[in-house]
């Protein structure tokens, strides 16, 4: 055993080591021989091929961008397509003096001189072999102008590209959204390798939300280009030009939307010159039939590439055309919540169908002299719940609000989807606000502000105060009224379709929990009162509903933009247009078997029944087959 260090045999050790060194040298020579053989292959045998490639010709890998999926409406009309256009491109590494080239192009009016700095920055960032777009959509004159001068601009050329085009631009802008120039931020978010060769990406709406579906996958091929970057046709017999096969691109999926272009156009035209939003839903499944926000904009400008100043003026427009009021705009819902509140009141016994209250035109809390005014200064007289809805009596609701209380109000309106996102397949949806005691405690910092006041319950009963809702939420709520409590998640996607195989993938409706009011009689009474709003003798919107060839139900609303002082008269003509009340209207039809529910909000429109209701009627007429040809 080895009690001491083992006896070392130096001679055998030297022999072993020497053997190993020789083994290493042999292996080393073999390995190095491979490298040398490879060098001889590259530098002697194939030298001419590579010399040619580096001299006159250069191998470049060119991405083949996929064709973006098309977007159709529910009747198969194309809402977003790809049009071939020519764009002017510059390959930085092939331009000796970028500054000078750009200035000369500006002199030819092919680019704007304001854009020179921006283009220079992009060109500097590289990669230098990747084309930088100078101008999208050249027109025929510009193409021929440049063609004559092309020899003076090495490294600059026009290229055919497919560019997104929206044939019904402003009618569908807020439902579909638009694509815009791919930015660095987009590339961080997306898989950038799949976007080489792609110039645009979805920025808002359906285009943004379904980017993955619409984009497809990028292919690539190796191309031989000469020193000026122009592609040289390869000769298959020439070994030096034989290139490996590329991978073809896969087009994106087409999308079918639930919207009906006719309704979009009717709504857009009706909202001409107004600010606001219209949302129409099929209450049987939550399909969005129309979704517009006014004023609208032309989504094509984002793919044409607009100048800095054009973009700023579009963004800074006081009417905010880029703002999607239908899902992002929040408004006090006003009297449109009264039918829902009436149902809640019946369900919890805060009132009944026979109880009558006297309306003197104002209401005061016990022990207070503050007057909460009715919209009708002289009062509605003796009214029951049905009358209160039909004539929109505020005082009746002021009174029963004390029996309901804000938290139960919150409990039931929440079931109609107010104060929470509807879950629509569009980005940026706002949840609105449905106040409660708990909400107020959390929302305010000062203890004095955290208490809920009974006066706040009073104004909440007519949809004022803290309460806020989006037009989409109102449409979804009236859809629930139409269905007597059955609810669906609103959605715009109807199906996706593979453009090659034609295989369709249908989006199935998603049912939401029912409104928890079981009594069928309550529903019939309240919805019946909504019918009388439109078609009853004293209905607030009878001017719109009377004479329609079908039964409909509705409720108008008016939302204060600024408060009127006590005992002061509200005079439309005297106040600034932008301080006038918002006009709201919710409705559905046909009464017994509803297939369309509509919410309309007209900012500063003053009167829900006079301004907003006719727009809803036009949509319902068309959808039920009674439309005149409003389209033309």
């Amino acid at each position: 055993m080895e009690l001491f260090s083992p006896i070392k045999d130096h001679h055998s050790e030297t022999r072993i080591f020497g053997g190993r060194v020789i083994l290493s040298i042999v292996i080393g020579i073999l390995l190095l021989g491979t490298v040398v053989a490879r060098l001889v292959q590259l530098q002697v045998i194939e030298h001419e091929i590579f010399a040619e490639k580096s001299q006159g010709n250069r191998v470049r890998i060119e991405a083949i961008p996929p064709i973006r999926g098309l977007i159709f409406d529910r009747k198969g009309r194309v809402l977003a397509e790809n049009l071939p256009t020519y764009q002017l491109e510059l390959i930085p590494e092939q331009v000796a003096d970028i500054d000078d080239t750009l200035r000369r192009l500006a002199r030819l009016k092919l680019i704007e001189s304001d854009d020179i700095d921006r283009i220079k920055n992009i060109a500097k960032r590289g990669p230098y072999f990747k084309p930088v777009t100078l101008r999208f959509r050249l027109n025929d004159t510009e193409i021929s102008d440049f063609a004559l001068q092309r020899h003076r601009f090495p490294g600059v050329d026009f290229q055919p590209r497919l560019v997104r085009h929206y044939p019904y631009g402003q009618y569908t802008a807020h439902a579909i959204g638009y694509v815009g120039a791919l930015s660095t931020r987009d590339l961080n978010r997306l898989n950038s390798a799949n976007y080489s060769g792609t110039f645009h990406t979805g920025k808002t709406g359906i285009e943004f939300k379904n980017e993955q579906t619409l984009h497809g996958s990028t292919g690539h091929k190796q191309v031989v280009t000469n020193a000026r970057g122009r592609q040289v046709p390869t000769d298959p017999r020439d070994r030096s030009q034989s290139l490996p096969d590329g991978v073809s691109s896969q087009p994106g999926q087409s999308i079918y939307l639930t919207i009906d272009l006719d309704l979009q156009m009717i709504a857009t035209k009706a909202m001409q010159g107004k600010r606001g939003a219209v949302v129409a839903i099929d209450p049987r499944n939550g399909e969005i039939l129309a979704l517009i926000s006014a004023p609208s904009f032309d989504p094509d400008v984002f793919t044409v590439g607009m100048s800095e100043s054009d973009f700023r003026s579009l963004q800074n427009d006081v009417d905010r055309p880029l703002f999607n009021r239908a899902v992002v705009g929040t408004y006090p819902p006003g009297s449109t919540i009264k039918p829902m509140l009436a149902l809640a009141a019946l369900e919890i016994g805060a009132t009944n169908l026979t109880r009558r209250n006297f309306c003197p035109g104002y209401y005061s809390l016990p022990g207070s002299s503050h007057r909460y005014r009715d919209w009708k200064p002289e009062g509605h007289g003796d009214v029951d719940l049905h009358d209160a809805l039909e004539q929109s009596c505020d005082v009746y609701f002021y009174e029963i609000s004390r029996n309901i209380g804000i938290d139960r109000m919150h409990f039931y309106l929440d079931q109609f989807g107010l104060g929470q996102k509807t879950g629509i397949d569009l980005a940026g949806e706002q949840p609105g606000l449905m106040p409660s005691r708990a909400w107020k405690r959390a929302a305010f910092r000062e203890p004095a502000d955290q208490t809920w006041f009974s006066g706040e319950t009073v104004i909440a009963s007519i949809g004022q105060g803290y309460m806020l809702a989006t037009p989409l939420q109102l449409a979804n709520a009236v859809a629930a009224l139409a269905m007597r409590g059955t609810r669906y998640e609103p959605h715009l996607m109807a199906a996706t379709e593979d453009p090659i195989t034609g295989a369709r993938n249908l989006v199935s409706p998603k049912r939401l929990p029912d409104v928890d009011i079981q009594n069928e009689f309550y529903w019939q009474s309240i919805v019946g009162a909504m019918n009388d709003v439109m078609q009853g003798v004293r209905g607030t919107a009878r001017a719109v509903g009377t004479g329609a060839p079908y039964r409909m139900a509705g409720k108008s609303g008016t939302a204060q933009v600024f408060s009127v002082a006590q005992d002061e008269e509200y005079d439309e003509d005297e106040i600034d247009e932008r301080l006038r009340d918002h006009a709201l209207f919710i409705s559905f039809a046909p009464f017994d078997d509803p297939i369309i529910a509509v919410a309309v909000v007209v900012e500063n429109g003053s009167s829900g029944s006079r301004v907003a209701a006719p727009i809803a009627r036009a949509l319902m007429d068309h959808h039920l087959g009674y439309g005149d040809d409003a389209l033309q």
Binding site: K8, G28, V35, Q43, F50, K53, R58, V59, S196, H220
Partner: protein
């Protein structure tokens, strides 16, 4: 015995500059190694000037780093190998401690935790490039050669612990090189050929098991590494451009600073991992063969020093340092010519960058110490 001229040159018996040789010998510098290394560095600087696009600032910085590295080499050459051997376990444990520290509180640089800031920022993994072969050689010094199975197990642990720690940083390339440096010591110590073949055979099913445990994206990464053509917009682009650069250089090259692939920046990473392609383009086949000959000479000199060494420790260490240097050269040149997948290994002493240069020069300092302290050691 008859010696050819080449043999005489490698053995250091040609004496055209006798006095200088004696002086260098006294300060423990090996003249053969020093002159070949200086020649290599000079060539490297010339190429680098072109590869950096005539950027004088960066070039001067590299020049300064080189100066520091050479001073470090000379300093290390003064320590007798005996002393090094006694310090070896401490150096190894010190390096191991630093590696643990890096994992606990290291600075994150470029997505990996490799740097440690102790007054000066450095990568502890660099220490291990020398400490691991030193430790294995130290362990075998008092033991029988070829090593017994029990000893092999201990050596496996010595190599595996730092390898795993560095792989966790994560720096797979460096950890594999460090493992290779350790394994080379064992192979030089006479690890049985049968065992080597068995291990190689076992690695096949091992790889298969590993593959089945990998996630999809990891598999994809491995596939891209093995077949760069599947990713022509990414890694494949480098190889295509690098082959064009080398191939177009031909027999004599396009001339210094005249390589179009380099100067027009078609070739990516031309100053670092792909600098070999610059030499290929601007100096042609003659240029790269000369460079390879210089590398072969340096490795040959290192192996000669190893053969001349008097004890187990110095012999194994010198052999491992020389062969590891060769591995660097082979992997880099094979990668740039498209023979093996692209892994980030620079061309030693030529590529831009200072961290690995200092370690490489320290290794040559050890070689010089081993060679010049021989006579002081008992036989």
């Amino acid at each position: 015995m008859r010696f050819s001229d080449t043999h005489r040159l490698i053995m250091g018996k040609a004496e055209p500059l006798g006095d200088i040789n004696r002086l260098l010998r006294r300060i423990h510098i090996d003249n053969m190694l020093l002159s070949s290394l200086l020649l290599l560095c000079a060539l490297g600087l010339i190429v680098l000037y072109s590869a950096l696009g005539q950027n004088t600032d960066l070039w001067l910085r590299q020049f300064a780093r080189l100066g520091v590295a050479i001073v470090g080499m000379v300093v290390i050459a003064q320590f007798p190998p005996d002393l090094m051997r006694r310090w070896t376990p401490w150096a190894y444990l010190f390096g191991l401690g630093l590696l643990v520290l890096v994992l606990l509180l290291g600075e994150v640089g470029q997505g990996a935790q490799r740097w440690l800031d102790l007054g000066i920022r450095f990568q502890p993994s660099e220490i291990m490039k020398l400490a691991v072969p030193m430790m294995v050689a130290w362990y075998l010094h008092d033991r029988q050669i070829p090593p017994r199975p029990m000893h092999l197990l201990v050596i496996a642990v010595i190599i595996a612990v730092p390898t795993v720690l560095i792989a966790k940083q994560p720096d797979l390339g460096t950890s594999l090189l460090i493992a290779a440096a350790g394994v080379l010591v064992v192979i030089l110590a006479g690890l049985s050929v049968r065992l080597m073949f068995t291990m190689a055979a076992l690695s096949v099913p091992g790889a298969w098991v590993l593959w089945s445990f990998m996630k999809d994206y990891q598999k994809q990464r491995v596939l891209t590494l093995l077949n760069p053509d599947s990713d022509p917009l990414g890694a494949g682009y480098n190889i295509i451009q690098s082959k064009i650069a080398i191939g177009s250089g031909g027999m004599f090259g396009k001339g210094w600073t005249n390589g179009s692939q380099v100067q027009l920046e078609f070739l990516p990473e031309r100053d670092t991992d792909f600098i070999f392609a610059v030499i290929g383009e601007e100096f042609g086949l003659m240029g790269v063969l000369s460079l390879l000959a210089l590398y072969v000479f340096i490795v040959g000199r290192g192996l000669y020093i190893a053969m001349q060494a008097r004890d187990t420790y110095t012999r194994l260490l010198a052999g491992s340092i020389s062969l590891t240097f060769f591995v660097y050269v082979f992997v880099n040149t094979a990668m740039v010519t498209g023979l093996v997948p692209v892994v980030g290994i620079p061309l030693p002493l030529v590529s831009y960058g200072g961290t690995s240069m200092v370690t490489l020069m320290a290794g040559f300092g050890i070689l010089m110490s081993i060679h010049t302290h021989r006579k002081l050691l008992p036989r």
